[in-house]
Point group: C2
Chain length 96, copies 2
């Protein structure tokens, strides 16, 4: 299924900047960066749970947030893109 | 239907910062800010088309990007949130 992951990491201090880098790196390993803090990942349920757990170990739940959107398997018609394309397409998983 | 709107606006120059403010303001008028550049809006198809057109007038398609995710009407189980809650909930449209 397509899982959209969005995050806000509070980067007011050095620890926050480090968390941001770590979250981004972890997401890059699992999907495609479509915007700065937005990733699309093709995952099964267990992969998704594992990634969730890993990201929750990285973020500070008092300062940061993570959102997961489950778009299912028939997602092509559910996504529209306008404007510039991301330069980073490590896996080329999804493009509309 | 629930429409998720995510955006990246290039804020390298003053015009970009202005575009960012305008995009955010327009989205605030139509939905709930759930993360810095992520909005959830309850819209019908014509409202959505109108908002799309308005946002496309604001952004610079050579520098910025907009993504729309259509989550339908049964969206409660499709969204999970972790960590800090956004402080801004103008309409209180959605809660998980």
């Amino acid at each position: 299924m397509l899982v959209l992951i969005t995050y806000d990491v509070n980067t007011e201090d050095a620890q926050g900047k480090r968390r941001l880098r770590r979250v981004a790196r972890k997401c890059v390993d699992h999907g495609q960066r479509v915007q700065n803090s937005v990733f699309e990942c093709l995952l099964d349920a267990s992969q998704c749970k594992l990634l969730q757990a890993q990201l929750l170990e990285i973020i500070d739940c008092e300062k940061d947030s993570l959102r997961f959107y489950y778009l299912g398997n028939s997602y092509a018609a559910k996504v529209e893109h306008f404007g510039v394309r991301p330069g980073y397409e490590p896996e080329g998983i999804l493009m509309i």
